[in-house]
């Protein structure tokens, strides 16, 4: 590729065009052989502009954005999914990321009435209902409570929902991109509830909190008080900086391991109640329809799940046969990832992958399998195991219990058909 920035086309097509060329060279070299350069590489032998002239000074970008060569690593939307983009969802480019922390700028968004702009000065959080003293907190009040830092994944219950009935979308971003993983700083909800006093709630066992947002949808969900007092956070920072407006600036709820819809953004009110509200988002939506037409409700925990992020349809193999890094993400709403198995033959045989770091509670875990690819077709799969003993099921196993209409909570094993040319496709296998 040209070294001139203005020649750069960050499109997959262009990328493949380049890839095809290098692929030929790599194939000619063959596995196990070091590549031989026929002629000296001008990138080395000739003085390049960047090695001679000057780059940008400090303050060229007071808040830095990714370099232009990475401008295709962005959230994407599937237009036909929703009626408009205001009440809609887009997808994290997981195929192009590594490690486990999702940068806020490309972490998926889901709004019900659009992303609002709410100033810290205008922010109020009310706690009312079965509490000793209903309270109102300002943003400045929240900053004075003892703080915690925790890394958690947030997955929309509809992640992979389009794949229930069959292989639909060709790319890990679209099939599994309704997820992000951030380090949150905030106050435990327990601290705030105790500040209001819970003597009025009596027995905690059958009590709930109803949490709602300040946007026009005022999305509200009911959460058992037990969970609210366990690990729920009222967060105002993510990955070290203020939440982005699309993720609920200035304050959102973090409900570890539970479906993303409960992570109410622009959190404005928490009511301790003696029953669930049965709001729209916990009855007509986010309930799982079974084959017989009945529906499961309160399916809050996100079961263990994993996906190979590369190679994948948007991240084909471009270097020919030889050393290949197979990598992906695994997570569980019921605890920590304890292991990930990878199959390259569609699930006949499995090899335990290497975890980038030991799995932690309700957070993304990166896995790697380093192989010497012989250039033949692969049916790539990954299978997550968690600390509760749960093993990620196949689609067939899930459908056997739930049928084809569930939409939500599809945590089935994903298959990528990697072809000899390195291209990959979303498929289903027997």
């Amino acid at each position: 590729m040209s070294d001139k920035a203005d020649d750069f086309a960050p499109s997959r097509r262009r990328f493949l065009a380049g890839a095809a060329a290098t692929g030929v060279g790599a194939a000619a070299v063959g596995a196990g052989q070091a590549a031989q350069a026929a002629t000296p590489d001008p990138l080395i032998t000739e003085v390049q502009d960047w090695a001679s002239g000057l780059g940008d000074g400090v303050d060229a970008t007071p808040y830095g954005l990714p370099i232009q060569f990475e401008q295709d690593v962005v959230r994407r939307n599937v237009e036909w999914l929703t009626a408009d983009t205001i009440s809609s969802i887009n997808f994290t480019p997981i195929h192009a990321l590594d490690g486990t922390i999702t940068p806020q700028g490309c972490a998926f968004e889901r709004h019900h009435s659009g992303a609002i702009e709410l100033r810290k000065e205008d922010y109020r959080l009310m706690i009312n209902g079965l509490v000793d003293t209903p309270l109102v907190f300002s943003y400045a009040d929240l900053e004075r409570f003892p703080r915690e830092n925790r890394v958690y994944f947030c997955e929309c219950a509809a992640n992979s929902g389009m794949e229930w009935a069959g292989a639909q979308l060709n790319g890990a971003q679209f099939t599994h991109g309704m997820i992000h993983n951030m380090e949150y700083s905030g106050v435990s909800l327990r601290t705030l509830l105790e500040e209001a006093g819970l003597a009025a709630a009596g027995d905690f066992k059958d009590k709930w909190v109803y949490v709602e947002g300040a946007d026009a949808s005022s999305n509200g969900r009911s959460i058992p008080l037990e969970k609210a007092l366990d690990d729920v956070l009222v967060a105002f920072k993510a990955n070290g900086e203020a939440l982005r407006k699309e993720h609920g600036y200035p304050v959102r709820l973090v409900v570890p391991g539970w479906e993303g819809n409960m992570w109410v953004k622009w959190l404005r009110r928490i009511e301790v109640m003696d029953g669930p509200v049965e709001s729209r988002e916990e009855t007509s939506k986010y309930t799982d329809t079974m084959e017989d037409g009945s529906a499961r409700k309160w399916t809050w925990e996100m079961d263990a799940k994993s996906v190979v992020t590369s190679p994948s349809p948007q991240a084909p193999i471009t270097h020919g046969k030889g050393p290949l890094v197979i990598t992906g993400l695994a997570w569980s709403g019921r605890g920590a990832i304890t292991g990930v198995d990878v199959s390259i033959d569609g699930g006949k045989t499995w090899t335990q992958a290497r975890l980038g770091a030991p799995g932690t509670d309700k957070a993304l875990t990166r896995f790697y399998l380093d192989i010497n690819w012989d250039g033949s077709e692969m049916l790539l799969q990954s299978r997550a195991r968690d600390s509760s003993g749960y093993v990620q099921p196949t689609k067939a196993e899930l459908r056997e219990v739930r049928g084809l209409n569930s939409i939500y909570h599809n945590n089935a094993i994903q298959t990528w058909w990697v072809k000899a040319d390195g291209e990959a496709e979303n498929v289903e296998v027997s």
Binding site: G129, G197, R296, E425
Partner: protein
């Protein structure tokens, strides 16, 4: 909504006395005033707790619905385009692709009241009066054949209404019904004899194009050599059989699909050019020749090069207008279902001159 206003009253009294109002560990925040709680605590529970006094009848509801809801949900709550359908679908929950509406799926009427009251109309939430919400909910019940046209919904009659699917839900039972997913030792080798590919995403082709974010990038992507795309063998498509006569059912379906086009295109007797050209006789016509319409340059050039609108060309254009013709003025994203395209083409053919 809180059932314990006593607590609130107590807080207000202590505030009036100027005493420390509460004894939290940190002493942060301030007591919420009754007016503040009343303003925000508007949730309604299944037993009707939280409902304000008020009422509304079906006829009023029809009027309010037509004015404030029908633009998205349709005059009969049948839903426009991708916007939610609120009526119908009863008996479809165990079918392929069930239709989930207030009548067929929602378990509690309180949910409908609460949602309309807090979140609707889209873009003007929390502007409805309580009586309007009662009327709208009454109309939604009526459009689902759940009440008669003389029905009046009020905080008094609210709990008389039980939705058909009230008993249709059960609490998460994964720990029991999916207990077999907690496997001590997952299979590692010889897990199955054969593996066959049973479905492919590329055949379905519903994945968005990966266009880049800048104009420069888009242009360069378009300029990239197409031949560099890996060639994939696609399974043979179903042959398209030319229809001798138009299928009236298909034409009727096409009339529905054409709603998506109607904002810009007129067709039939008395039709005139508007944002888009009139489409009478478009099938079989050369591209870019409707009199009095200012086409894009590429469309005019295509017509001069002999582009004729037939099954094939119309289908390609309607599927991805801007891909088929770069620079077209038609800003429509395209019809994603082949069946919809067939239907709309049949509908347009029914207006052949």
């Amino acid at each position: 909504m809180s059932k314990f206003p006593k607590v609130i009253a107590g807080a207000a009294v202590s505030l009036a006395l100027g005493l420390p109002a509460f004894a939290g560990e940190y002493g942060l925040g301030r007591p919420a005033l009754p007016e503040e709680i009343a303003a925000w605590d508007i949730d309604v529970s299944p037993d009707g707790t939280g409902l304000p006094a008020g009422s509304g009848d079906v006829f009023t509801g029809e009027e309010v619905f037509a004015e404030k809801c029908a633009v998205c949900h349709g005059d009969f709550a049948e839903g426009v385009d991708n916007w939610p359908k609120l009526a119908g679908g009863q008996g479809t929950l165990d079918h392929e692709d069930p239709l989930k509406t207030v009548g067929s799926y929602w378990p509690y009427l309180s949910t409908t009241w609460d949602y309309v009251n807090r979140s609707m109309p889209f873009g003007a939430a929390q502007t409805l009066e309580a009586d309007e919400v009662y009327a709208i909910v009454a109309y939604i019940l009526y459009s689902n054949d759940l009440v008669d046209d003389d029905f009046v919904l009020s905080n008094e009659t609210f709990t008389d209404v039980e939705l058909p699917n009230a008993e249709g839900f059960f609490v998460d039972d994964r720990l029991e019904s999916e207990a077999h997913f907690w496997k001590a030792e997952p299979c590692m080798s010889d897990c199955k004899d054969t593996v066959e590919i049973t479905m492919r995403a590329r055949v379905l082709d519903v994945t968005p194009e990966e266009t880049a974010t800048t104009d420069v990038a888009v242009e360069q992507a378009a300029a990239a050599p197409v031949a560099a795309e890996p060639i994939v063998e696609e399974p043979a498509e179903e042959p398209v059989v030319a229809e001798v006569a138009l299928d009236p059912e298909l034409v009727a379906k096409g009339a529905k699909v054409f709603k998506k086009c109607k904002a810009c295109h007129k067709v039939g007797e008395g039709a005139k050019n508007s944002t888009g050209p009139i489409l009478n006789g478009i099938f079989g016509a050369t591209a870019g020749v409707v009199e009095g319409f200012r086409y894009s340059k590429p469309m005019l050039a295509a017509g001069e090069d002999g582009l004729v609108w037939n099954d094939e060309t119309l289908a390609a254009f309607l599927a991805k207008p801007r891909k088929f013709m770069k620079g077209t003025k038609m800003s429509f994203a395209g019809l994603r279902k082949e069946r919809d395209i067939e239907a709309v083409v049949a509908y347009l053919r029914s207006f052949d001159n």
